[in-house]
């Protein structure tokens, strides 16, 4: 019962952040702010699901001696958390760069550092666009 309390606490954090991520897709005005809200919140929320599963499996493994399937579950969920933590922000960066290159610009922005950097890199390469 104590285990269920702590697992429920972690799942509560997770559901709050996942709901914020889903709501941010509707409340934010343009692509970049939506990407900012949705990706960060869902990565953090799903990471806390993985934390809840890690706590559950390691406590069940230590409580019932000799049941190695909970240790196997622990290791696999750990691998899943690492994969999630690496792949999700990288995909979000690729999406943001693709949105910028496809011509969508943030409305009230004054400084565009990515465009300046790409112009500088093109100039250094001798005028050959990427």
């Amino acid at each position: 019962m104590l285990l269920a309390f702590f697992v429920g606490l972690l799942l509560l954090v997770s559901v709050v952040f996942n709901c914020l991520g889903a709501v941010s897709l509707y409340r934010f005005p343009d692509v970049y702010t939506r990407l900012h809200g949705a990706t960060k919140c869902t990565t953090f929320g799903t990471l806390f699901i993985a934390f809840a599963l890690l706590l559950y499996s390691i406590i069940r493994f230590m409580a019932v001696e000799g049941e190695s399937r909970f240790l196997v579950l622990f290791i696999h969920v750990l691998i899943a958390a690492v994969v999630l933590l690496i792949s999700n922000p990288a995909g979000a960066h690729a999406l943001a760069r693709a949105a910028h290159r496809s011509g969508i610009l943030p409305e009230p922005a004054i400084v565009d550092s990515l465009e300046d950097m790409e112009k500088e890199m093109t100039r250094q390469r001798g005028g050959v666009a990427l």
């Binding site: 889903a22 869902t42 579950l73 969920v77 691998i79 899943a80 999406l95 693709a98």
Partner: protein
């Protein structure tokens, strides 16, 4: 089932409702980039559901499927992003 497994089932149901909520942005998104963001969020939520149900049904295979799903959704996100920016 133990008490925490009931919590996992409830959490999976909430995540499924969130998938339905997010798919509205997938349908009405004004630009293609909005649709891609919604697709990315849905992929993350579905992999979370797979992790939860793997613990509920005591099957580690489901967690392995979730890992492969995350990797494939990352590759497809990169592919769609490359298509959107008009690369190759």
């Amino acid at each position: 089932m133990s008490a925490s497994q009931y919590l996992f089932v409830g959490m999976a149901l909430i995540m499924a409702l969130l998938v339905i909520l997010v798919s509205g942005r997938l349908i009405v998104g004004p630009t293609t980039a909005d649709r891609l963001i919604a697709l990315d969020v849905i992929n993350t939520l579905v992999s979370g559901i797979m992790l939860l149900l793997g613990a509920v049904y005591d099957s580690v295979v489901m967690v392995d499927v979730a890992i492969v799903y995350m990797a494939l959704s990352f590759v497809s996100t990169l592919y769609f992003a490359r298509h959107l920016e008009g690369g190759f």
